[in-house]
Amino acid sequence: MATRNLGALLVLVLAITIREVASVFQPISDSHRSAASELFTPAEGSFGSLEEAYEALRSFEILGIDKPDIRGASGESVLDKLGSSSSAPKDLFYALKVNSILKCEVNKEVFEGIASRLKAVVNGASSLLDIYYSIGSLVLIKNQSSEVDVLLADADGIFRSIKSLSQSDGRWRYSSDNPESSTYAAGLAVEALAGVVSLASSEIDQAMIGKLKRDVSKLFDIIEKYDDGAVYFDEKVDQSPLSTTASVVRGLTAFAAVTSETLKLPGDKILGLAKFFLGIGVPGNTKDFFNQIDSLACLESNKVSVPLILSLPATVLSLTKKDQLKVKVSTVLGSSAPPVTVKLVRAFSSGSKDASIIPSQELKFDKESRYHFLDVLPKNVDVGSYMFVFEVVLHDSEHETIYATGGLTQVGVFVTGVVNIDNAEIAVLESDKSVETQKKLDLAGENAVSLSANHLQKLRLSFQLTTPLGHTFKPHQVFLKLTHETKVEHIFVVGNSGKKFEIILDFLGLVDKFYYLSGSYDLQLTVGDAVMENSFLRAIGRVDLDLPEAPEKATRPPPLAVNPYLKYGPKAEISHIFRVPEKLPPNHLSLAFLGLLLLPLIGFLVGLLRLGVNLKNFPTSAVPATFGFLFHVGLAAVLLLYVLFWLKLDLFTTLKWLGILGVFLLFVGHRILSHLASTSSKLKSA
């Protein structure tokens, strides 16, 4: 009892572990190469910065693409940056990185100057980024010129100062006064420390290196996991998972390369990292693309364990074409793997997990195409979707420390084939189920049956579907569609009972659903499935229905479905109707009339002169003369206010000012006019 339970538990655990690795990861292929050529296109012959130039050049180098046209301009800016004494460590770092690919001629003196400056930066720096760029630059100088002295005298001290930024969980801080810890920084720190180790003039304390190894393995405790087996490092702020993981991978592989001890990390984690980078596909921006390609290149040649990827060129196998099951094992960049045997452990139908349909066997290896293949699928493999479980076994047991194969890999495979359609017939039945007319159908070819029925009869359509092995096949979709002349459609699902698919349309019960529409109905049958190579959608003829007249309360047929493209498409353009501007006379005519209007005024003035009008009556004494003058000024002011009212003022402002002016005018007007009246009455009385 206990052993059976244990066995069941083991199967369950196995099933769970296998489930996690169900999707197929393809190694880097030509699609990446063409994408790289498109992505890294420099604007006007040069990249925006040396960092971008490095990313492009490095990606091209890894993918084996030669792009000489961007070399010239990049080379110039490299020499510029290296020659300038004010370049920041970051600029120097990327300039040297580009130079490591371009290999420009740089004077030894230039390198020496840079090296002494960087050493000063390293000794005085407190920020991790400064140290990272400086150490990185020194390592690059070391690789590019053997004559320059780049060795660090106080390597131990620098190692300790970087190490002091590490946190207990394996992550690092960017500087001593920044309490936030970061996984991205951990990658940079490990890479910098690897640089310090390689630059050390004397041996680094082994105890420190041991501590660093523990830090790195702690980092793998906080790794995140996807369901398909991919693992990655996440950063809550600033960096994306991709750049964080890439940073850690770079640090890890650099550290593994310089240390003499072996770094023991679980192989499936390394494989998981490779799966994470491959699972992205082809990234759409240059930064992601570089991070992906560069990290994969680091993994390709790392000293911890090199991941091997199992991929299938095709996951759809056709029984009619007798497709072979082919499997390829390669490294992440697509180069060939060491000698391996691929075992097909088992294969089972997706629906039922229990029985393996193929006995466990080794796949044969074709040396030319480097494919592992299964000669012929066993006879008992029918159409359907299957899960194939593979195991990669290295021939050389020494390789097991170098490569990570990741144990069992589960891959979903579709096996397709032609499904036989038999005994297809359509019949009109009387209400007592006696056959009135019956016609055979050939569902593989064209049909044009013509039937007629009334509402007391029934229509029966039946056929059988069998797989190549003679089993009943149940496709995803089996529909019968009836379309009336007026485009009203009715769709019925054809059910199956045992081997036979059958549908009986009882028109008596359907008259209401058919909206009492008599006339010709087109019949269309759809049978479709992903693994059925001869899926079809076929018109099989027509049936003339004679249905009773619609009672008054019968539901009306629905309005015809509007074409969705019309419904959501652009609306008809709205044409706005504007008032037609009034016809205005030509300018000169209006001006001529303006001149004409002056004529009566001139006539008025001339008339006044002829009448001998004068201002003799204007008061001569000072006070009335002032009032008289003010009266006229007031009148002029009111008229001016009217002009302003016409031009810009509103009514309320105008009335306010008019009130003030009016009171003034009333006062002076009254004074001057009463003065005039009194003088004229005096004159009269005199």
């Binding site: 016809k583 009566p600 009448l611 009148l635 009217y642």
Partner: protein, 121 residues
């Protein structure tokens, strides 16, 4: 000049005599009234020119046209009122001082033109 002809010579002479008598009668009118007459003539002829303009090109800014016409007609009417009031022969307004009449004229003109300006647009 009208050509003297046998049939119409007596009529034209009558007309001439009529005009001459009218002229001599008008020359006796005080200068103040003549000034007012001149002003009325000026206002009316301005209005007539505006009407001719409207007849030629249309009354598109109709409110402007109305303002122009009403301004002229209104001030002409007010001037005629003024003339009636200051005419000494009109016994009806004997007690009314011409200065008072002029004040009315000015006030009415100001109010009229405030409305005109408001309507001018």
């Amino acid at each position: 000049m009208v050509k003297p002809s046998s049939s119409s010579s007596s009529t034209s002479q009558d007309a001439l005599a009529l005009i001459n008598s009218l002229r001599s009668a008008y020359s006796a009118t005080p200068t103040t009234l003549k000034i007012i007459d001149l002003y009325v003539g000026f206002a009316v002829s301005t209005a007539i020119i505006q009407v001719v303009y409207m007849a030629l090109v249309g009354s598109f800014p109709f409110n402007s046209f109305l303002s122009g016409i009403l301004s002229c007609i209104g001030t002409a009417v007010l001037a005629v009122c003024l003339r009636i009031q200051v005419n000494k022969e009109n016994k009806e307004f004997k007690d009314l001082a011409p200065e008072r009449a002029f004040a009315d004229f000015v006030l009415c003109n100001l109010v009229l033109h405030l409305v005109i300006m408001n309507f001018l647009g």
